[in-house]
C-alpha cells in the first residue's frame, strides 16, 4: 500500500462481498418460485424477494465503486485521502441504512413501509429498482455527497490524472442522475420517460465511465504499459460510450407512449452501443499482450480480461439482440430482457468490481498477490461463476424465444400463465445453473482464507 488512508477501502470491499452473497441467495429463492409458484408464500412473496435481489445488487456495486475510489484516488493523486474518518463514518451510515431498508422490505408490508417513511409527502416508491423508501433515497444522496466531497478534495490537493478525472465524472454523474428518482409525475408516460434517466443513463452512460476508469487503473498496474497509451484508449472508449449511449436511451421509448420517431433514434444509436464494449475488450487484451512486467497476481489479470469479454457479450451482443425496434416489439418485457439484464450486469459491473477487489485486496492485506494456492481457488471461482452465468443467460434466452413465439407470434396465442407452464423446463435449468453460480461464489469466499507462501512481499 502506498498511502495509509487507502486502507478505508477494505471494509467497503468486505461489505460488498457480503451483500453479494445475500443477492444470490434471494436470486435462487426467486428462481425456485418461478417453477414452484407457492414456495415460501405468503411469508416471502416474489415481489419482495425481487426487491431484495435487485436492491442488494445495486447497493453492493455502490459499495464496490466507493471502495475502488477510496483505493485508487490516493494512489492516482499521490496524496493521502482528504478525510479517512469521513469515509469510515459514511461506510457505517450506508451499511446501517441499507440493512434497515432490506429488513423493512422483509418484515413490514410495503404499503405500511411507505406510510412510515414519508411516501405521502413525496411519492417515489414502487417503481422498479427505485423501491427504496424516501428516507433511504435521501440517505443515499447524503452518503454520495459526502463521498464525492472526500474524493474531490483529495484530487484537488494532488495530481490530476485522466483516470481519476474520468472516475470522478462517472461518480458525479451517478449521483446527479439518481436525483431523477425523486421525480415521479402522475403522468405514467413521463414517469417512465424520466425513470430511464436513472436506469439507462446509469448503466449505459455514467457507470461505463467508472467501468473504464477501474479497468484502466488495474491494467496500468498489472501490465506496466505506459499511462499515456492507456489513458488515450480510455478517452476514446468513453467518447464512444456517451456518443452512442445518451441518444441510445431511445431504445426504451418505443412502446411507452413517446413519439414514434424514437424508434429511429433509439434503434440507430443503441445499435452502435456495442462498439465501446468491443473496444474495451480489444483494449484489455492489447494491453495485457503488450505487458512490460509479469505481475504476480494472475487472478486479477484474469478478472480484467474476463470483464472485457463478458461485458461485450452481455451488454454488446445480448443488448444488440433485442435493441432494434422491430425485434423489441416482440421481445419487450420478456425473458430475453432478463437474460440480457443478468449477463450485462454480471459481465460489466460485477466483474469489474471483482477485478478491483482481486487486485487491491491482497495489497490491503500486506502482500502484492495472494499465494498461488489461493489464486488457483479464486480462478476456479471465476470460471464457475462466469460459466454458470453464461448458462443462466442461454437458458433464459431459450425460455424467452419460446415465450415470444407461444404468446406473441403464434396464430393461436397462449395466455401468459399457460406459456410459463410450457417453458418451465428452462426455468429448472436456470435454477441448476444458479446453484453452480452459488458454489462458485462459496469457493470465491474460501479463497480469501487460504493461507500458503506468498512469494512477493507488500509493495
Amino acid at each position: 500500500m502506498q498511502y495509509k488512508s487507502q486502507a478505508v477501502a477494505k471494509p467497503y470491499f468486505v461489505a460488498a462481498i457480503g451483500l453479494f452473497v445475500g443477492q444470490i441467495v434471494f436470486g435462487l429463492i426467486m428462481g425456485l418460485q418461478y417453477v414452484v409458484g407457492d414456495f415460501l408464500f405468503p411469508a416471502l412473496p416474489f415481489n419482495v424477494a425481487r426487491m431484495v435481489h435487485t436492491n442488494l445488487l445495486i447497493v453492493w456495486l455502490l459499495f464496490g465503486f466507493m471502495g475502488a475510489a477510496y483505493y485508487m484516488v490516493p494512489e492516482e493523486s499521490e496524496t493521502e485521502l482528504y478525510s479517512p474518518k469521513l469515509a469510515i463514518g459514511l461506510f457505517w451510515i450506508f451499511l446501517v441504512a441499507g440493512a434497515l431498508t432490506i429488513l423493512g422490505y422483509l418484515f413490514v408490508p410495503y404499503a405500511t413501509l411507505a406510510e412510515m417513511t414519508g411516501n405521502d409527502i413525496l411519492a417515489t416508491m414502487g417503481r422498479e429498482f427505485l423501491e427504496q423508501p424516501l428516507l433511504t433515497k435521501i440517505g443515499i444522496v447524503i452518503v454520495a455527497l459526502g463521498f464525492l466531497f472526500n474524493i474531490s478534495m483529495t484530487m484537488l490537493k494532488g495530481r490530476k490524472t485522466a483516470i481519476s478525472m474520468v472516475l470522478l465524472l462517472g461518480l458525479w454523474g451517478l449521483a446527479i442522475f439518481f436525483l431523477f428518482s425523486f421525480y415521479n409525475p402522475h403522468n405514467l408516460v413521463k414517469d417512465k420517460y424520466y425513470w430511464w434517466w436513472v436506469v439507462h443513463l446509469w448503466v449505459e452512460g455514467v457507470w461505463e465511465l467508472i467501468l473504464g476508469a477501474l479497468l484502466a487503473f488495474v491494467l496500468i498496474k498489472v501490465t506496466g504499459v505506459d499511462r499515456e497509451v492507456i489513458e488515450k484508449w480510455l478517452y476514446v472508449i468513453i467518447t464512444l460510450t456517451l456518443v452512442t449511449g445518451i441518444i441510445g436511451t431511445g431504445h426504451h421509448y418505443y412502446w411507452i407512449g413517446a413519439p414514434e420517431y424514437w424508434q429511429w433514434w433509439g434503434s440507430v444509436f443503441s445499435a452502435l452501443e456495442p462498439i465501446p464494449f468491443f473496444a474495451m475488450t480489444v483494449f484489455a487484451f492489447n494491453m495485457v499482450n503488450r505487458r512490460r512486467r509479469e505481475h504476480p497476481n494472475k487472478a486479477a489479470v484474469l478478472w480484467a480480461l474476463g470483464t472485457g469479454v463478458m461485458a461485450f457479450l452481455g451488454a454488446g451482443v445480448w443488448g444488440f439482440l433485442h435493441t432494434l425496434a422491430p425485434v423489441n416489439y416482440y421481445t419487450h418485457g420478456s425473458q430475453i430482457t432478463a437474460a440480457h439484464g443478468h449477463m450485462a450486469f454480471y459481465g460489466a459491473y460485477v466483474m469489474v468490481v471483482l477485478t478491483l477487489i482481486s487486485y487491491a485486496m491482497p495489497i490491503l492485506r500486506g502482500r502484492a498477490a495472494n499465494s498461488p494456492r489461493a489464486q488457483v481457488l479464486e480462478m476456479w471461482s471465476f470460471w464457475l461463476m462466469t460459466i454458470a452465468m453464461v448458462f443462466i443467460t442461454l437458458f433464459l434466452t431459450a425460455a424467452g424465444i419460446l415465450q415470444v413465439w407461444l404468446q406473441r407470434i403464434s396464430t393461436a396465442p397462449l395466455s401468459f400463465m399457460a406459456t410459463q407452464d410450457q417453458i418451465s423446463l428452462f426455468y429448472w435449468l436456470r435454477e441448476i445453473s444458479g446453484v453452480i453460480f452459488l458454489i462458485g461464489l462459496v469457493i470465491y469466499l474460501i479463497s480469501f482464507f487460504v493461507k500458503g507462501e506468498s512469494r512477493v512481499g507488500a509493495q
Binding site: 418460485q33 404499503a111 418505443y254 407512449g257 418485457g333 425473458q335 396465442p413 410459463q420
Partner: protein, 141 residues
C-alpha cells in the same frame, strides 16, 4: 492510435462529443414533451387515476407484473388488462387472491377497499388508453 493522435485530442473529442449529444438529447426531450399530450392520455388523469397510481406503487405490483412491458416477468402484463379482462373481473380477481392452487404462482391479498379497487381500475383503464404504437402484439400482452 499513432503518434499524431494525442491524449489531449482524445480528451477534447470526448468533452465536445458528450456535450453535443447531451444537448441533442435535451432537444429531443423538449420536443417529446411538446408532442406527448396527443398520445399520453393525460386528459384522463382524473383524481381517481392519480389515487390508483399511488395504490399501484405502494403495493409494488411492478415487482411481479409488467406495465407497458416494464417491470417483472413473473406475472401477466397489466398495461392492457383492462381491455383483456374488463373492470369487474379485475376487481373480483384482486379480492379473490391468493388462489392457493398448489404449486401455482401466487398473488397476495391486499385488503383493498371498494374505493381503492375502483381507483386501481381507473388507473389500469387510463394506462390501457395510452398510445403505445400498437404494443403489445396481441391481447395476451
Amino acid at each position: 492510435m499513432s503518434g499524431t493522435f494525442t491524449k489531449s485530442m482524445a480528451r477534447n473529442i470526448f468533452y465536445g462529443g458528450t456535450v453535443f449529444f447531451f444537448l441533442l438529447f435535451l432537444a429531443l426531450t423538449y420536443d417529446t414533451n411538446q408532442a406527448l399530450p396527443k398520445r399520453d392520455n393525460s386528459q384522463n388523469l382524473t383524481p381517481e387515476v392519480i389515487a390508483g397510481k399511488k395504490i399501484w406503487e405502494t403495493r409494488n405490483c411492478i415487482g411481479c407484473h409488467t406495465l407497458l412491458g416494464e417491470g417483472a416477468y413473473f406475472a401477466p402484463e397489466l398495461g392492457n388488462v383492462y381491455v383483456r379482462r374488463g373492470p369487474d373481473f379485475i376487481k373480483a380477481w384482486i379480492q379473490a387472491q391468493p388462489t392457493g392452487a398448489p404449486g401455482r404462482r401466487q398473488m397476495p391479498q391486499f385488503h383493498l377497499s371498494d374505493k381503492e379497487l375502483d381507483d386501481l381500475v381507473a388507473f389500469l383503464k387510463y394506462a390501457s388508453e395510452i398510445n403505445t404504437a400498437n404494443w403489445p402484439p396481441n391481447i395476451e400482452g
